[in-house]
Amino acid sequence: MFQLEPGDRRPLYEQIKENIKFLIIGGSLADGDRIPSVRELAVNMAINPNTIQKAYKELENEGYIHSLKAKGYFVSPRSQAEKAAGNEVLAKFTDAARELMYTGKTFDELCGIIEQIYKGGNIDGNDNGQ
């Protein structure tokens, strides 16, 4: 289904989560699709089943998947996943904004970029000029 990057240092459950999210957001896994059972994925990837379970539990809490008793895990309707994805992107945005602040970008500069995006302007780096 997917392969983990050997050099990735993040905890395995995070990597698994991200890969499945990517498949859902990208549409490879559609609403209602069954995803592999914990056992299938653990055996297939030779990874601890408790790690897979942890990833699935978190994906469930974030609204990407849901479990049906005795049937396994399924992809949840898109609106829920999109909402969850929105929160995640927002967290990334916050991180990025903080980093930009550290590196000396001013509040007005960032606001300018956001304003441009919302007005449908073309921002392609700094050399675009006004």
Partner: protein, 312 residues
């Protein structure tokens, strides 16, 4: 059905001591393995890992302390022992026995033995049943140990440096079979190994032993989540002072400098560290998790087990 580790303990070890003459190999060792968990036991050579496993399996008699499986004492307890499989580096087989005969012996000893599983696994471990086990290569003998061990359907597998000697394909196949038993039946695994890259994939808990004692015992995520590598640099003006102030707020395990960039190994919560760093407005700031191998090196480094300067 799908299992996860609960809070029920499968293996409980407390205050185990073992002396060989004047040498104390195990010094009040305690350890806890949850049901359905894959527990990686790591530590430098001579830490007492194999001594502990041999004491657990009743090959050595501990001088003091308690060891239980599912709440029952293990030592000389046939009923408990029949639920455990032990795979080690120096395997013993009866000299005249073929694989088939050894399997029959296992079927007598282990109550959960499954002939059906044994036959199924023959598709993976493709070794002629009529061959004498001791005539096989070391790696193939190890394959037989897993073949028989998994067919015995134990509640617990104790593995001491088990996978070394298996080729990469058999290694992966064997892990898949073991993890299948973990996922399907909630089998518990205790494994001692120096292959930390592999343990990172298969374990959910780790115990680090040093000097006959348990020094760290946590879930793998907690072990890795509490120690980080940081790269940090400050603007030229007052950079040394800022770095000193920053590090004074942290539990620092290691520090090295390259130009203006400092590489730090730091213990603590990642968000806390990020917040502290933000107060000193670094121009470069990067925080990444450590690999289990790095955790091993730096944690033990903090206890005085360190790299020596090899350039003599």
């Amino acid at each position: 059905m799908e299992m996860t580790t609960g809070n029920e303990m499968m293996i409980t070890v407390s205050g185990v001591t073992k002396n060989f003459g004047a040498f104390r190999a195990l010094d009040g060792l305690s350890l806890n393995v949850k049901k359905g968990s894959v527990y990686g036991l790591v530590g430098p050579n001579g830490a007492g890992k194999t001594t502990f496993i041999k004491a657990l399996m009743g090959i050595y008699k501990a001088d003091s302390g308690e060891m239980t499986l599912d709440g029952k004492p293990i030592f000389e307890n046939e009923e408990v022992k029949s639920r455990m499989i032990y795979v080690c580096d120096d395997l013993f087989y009866y000299p005249t026995y073929t694989i088939e005969q050894t399997a029959k012996m296992y079927a007598d000893i282990y109550p959960n033995w499954s002939n059906e599983l044994f036959e199924k696994l023959h598709d993976i471990y493709k070794i002629d049943l009529k061959r004498k086990v001791i005539r096989l290569s070391k790696g193939m003998q190890k394959q037989v140990a897993f073949w028989l061990g998994i067919s015995a359907q134990p509640d617990v597998m104790i593995l001491d440096e088990p996978i070394d000697g298996l080729d990469p394909v058999m290694r992966r196949n064997t892990w898949r079979l073991v993890l299948n038993e973990v996922a399907e039946r909630g089998m518990t695994v205790l494994i001692s190994s120096h292959n930390l890259r592999e343990l990172e994939d298969v374990c959910d808990h780790v115990g680090i032993m040093f000097g006959g004692k348990m020094v760290i015992e946590k879930s793998l995520d907690d072990v890795k989540g509490n120690i980080h590598k940081i790269q940090i640099a400050f603007a030229k003006e007052g950079s040394d002072e800022k770095l000193a102030l920053f590090t004074s707020n942290l539990e620092l395990l290691h520090e090295s400098r390259m130009g203006s960039v400092a590489s730090l190994i730091v213990k603590g919560d990642m968000e806390d560290i990020k917040n502290i760093a933000a107060q000193y407005s670094p121009v470069v700031f990067d925080i990444i998790p450590l690999t289990l191998e790095e955790v091993f090196i730096y944690e033990l480094g903090g206890m005085g087990y360190e790299f020596e300067n090899i350039l003599i």
